[in-house]
């Protein structure tokens, strides 16, 4: 599995290497990175999930970017040739021309900026899985929008109840085979059809915590990489991510590192519940 995404460090050049977790830091090529929201939280969640399954093979392609696009550009260029069959594209500045140039031979999971770029370029069908929240789903459903913050008026009023309608609308455009719409209820989607919904446990504070969407992407991607089929991985991943909030006794001021550290326990509990 390859994770490609930026780190919030100005001027950091391209870093490519294997990642390990040491306390609240990620180590790549002897460099330390914080496990904060974004790519850091995603990597942390992947490492913790793989650890449970006795795996650790994850390659990172990262560069520093604080929004100016310099690091993102380096990552796009590094994605022109990929030596793995599963790629996750995460926090990256959306560039329509650059996303069209990447190597589409692996299964590609896109979240955050990676998903924005894929949709804006209208090439969503080249991807394997998107993980939008409700607001991002509205953006995916708007054929004109190129960023979730730049949309038409009707998007502004959306709420969770409109998710099935928005999924139908999104799938009239170019969308990946699979989608997880995360929110009060998580929707599992295959080729435009809702195949499962997950509502429990409901931990409201998780919405406040920066990085809980990243952990969901990390857990689902890891489950796929260890052999779960996509639908199993999506449903199980949503259940585990919700369980994290319960195990960590999450409050709105809980930080994502506290959530990530509970992954093995929440995973164990969820798998046990399913077997019963």
């Amino acid at each position: 599995m390859i994770i490609a995404g930026t780190m919030p460090i100005k001027g950091l050049d391209l870093v490519i290497g294997k990642a390990t977790l040491k306390g609240d830091k990620i180590i790549i090529n002897n460099k330390e990175f914080p496990v904060s929201m974004g790519t850091g939280a995603l990597i942390g969640a992947v490492l913790k999930t793989l650890e449970y399954f006795g795996e650790k093979d994850v390659k990172i392609i990262t560069a520093g970017d604080i929004g100016e696009g310099d690091g993102s550009l380096k990552i796009y260029n590094a994605l022109k040739e990929i030596d793995d069959d599963l790629l996750i594209i995460h926090y990256i500045k959306p560039k329509i021309s650059k996303i069209k140039e990447i190597d589409f031979s692996p299964k590609i999971i896109a979240d955050a900026g990676g998903m924005y770029a894929a949709k804006a370029a209208n090439i969503g069908d080249k991807f394997y899985l998107f993980l939008p929240d409700v607001g991002e789903l509205a953006f995916l459903a708007d054929e004109k929008a190129t960023h979730p913050a730049y949309v038409r008026g009707f998007i502004s009023e959306i709420d969770d109840k409109e998710v099935p309608k928005l999924i139908e609308r999104a799938y009239k455009l170019k969308m990946p085979k699979y989608m997880v719409v995360k929110g009060e209820t998580d929707y599992i989607v295959k080729e435009g059809e809702i195949t499962n919904t997950i509502k429990e446990p409901k931990i409201e504070a998780m919405e406040c915590i920066g990085g809980t969407g990243d952990t969901l992407t990390g857990i689902i991607s890891s489950l796929i990489s260890v052999g779960f089929n996509a639908e199993e991985a999506m449903s199980l991943g949503c259940k585990i991510n919700r369980k994290l909030g319960e195990v960590a006794n999450a409050k709105p001021n809980t930080q994502v590192i506290e959530i990530i550290s509970t992954i093995p326990k929440a995973l164990e509990m969820t798998l046990k519940q399913i077997k019963q």
Binding site: G69, D133, A149, G153, E207, G210, K251, P252
Partner: protein
């Protein structure tokens, strides 16, 4: 006949190509040509921009406009503001009805206040301390989260606000949420 059909096909292909080239682009409209030229000097090299003639239906007195990438709008606005240039408007080229999202929702969660604007969320405690920032997908969001978390919203200096630290549309929507959260604390 075949020649005519070929031309028609070529025209259709060119229109499609032209439409695709406008995807994700916006236009800055200025009050006068002088401002447009000054803006070009300031922005070139830093952003991917092009000086163009605005379409007739949105022409507002000036015959020069600047085409830019929508994602860069926030950084460009700040750059022009620093240099004292006030454009008339920023519009999306793929559809003039597209505009930055400004709808804000507020809710209380376990005694904390969550303010949401579009895809961005900011959570503060009752004293105004920023405890979490979530949502979004552009690279400046994790940067802004690191910079702002733990600070009291009443004490953040102007140069440390999302508006002044961020570059992308995600930063723009976060700033809207930030402003609302500050207003709630000051009430």
């Amino acid at each position: 006949m075949i020649g005519k059909l070929k031309n028609l096909f070529k025209l259709k292909k060119e229109t499609k190509k032209e439409k695709e080239s406008l995807e994700g682009k916006g236009l800055i409209i200025f009050e006068n040509t002088k401002d447009a030229m000054k803006a070009e000097n300031i922005l070139k090299g830093k952003y991917k921009i092009k000086v163009v003639a605005p379409p007739a239906e949105i022409r507002e007195g000036c015959d020069l406009a600047i085409e830019y990438e929508l994602i860069d709008e926030f950084g460009i606005k700040r750059e022009l503001e620093i240099n004292g240039i006030k454009p008339l408007k920023f519009i999306s080229l793929s559809d003039y009805s597209l505009k930055p999202l400004e709808l804000i929702k507020v809710k209380e969660v376990d005694g904390f206040i969550l303010v949401r604007c579009g895809n961005m969320k900011i959570t503060i405690d009752k004293e105004g301390n920023i405890v979490n920032i979530s949502g979004g997908g552009c690279p400046d969001v994790p940067y802004l989260a690191l910079k702002l978390k733990g600070k009291n919203i009443k004490e953040i200096k102007e140069e440390e606000t999302p508006k002044n630290l961020g570059f992308t549309l995600c930063a723009y929507t976060l700033h809207k949420a930030y402003e609302k959260a500050k207003e709630l604390v000051n009430e």
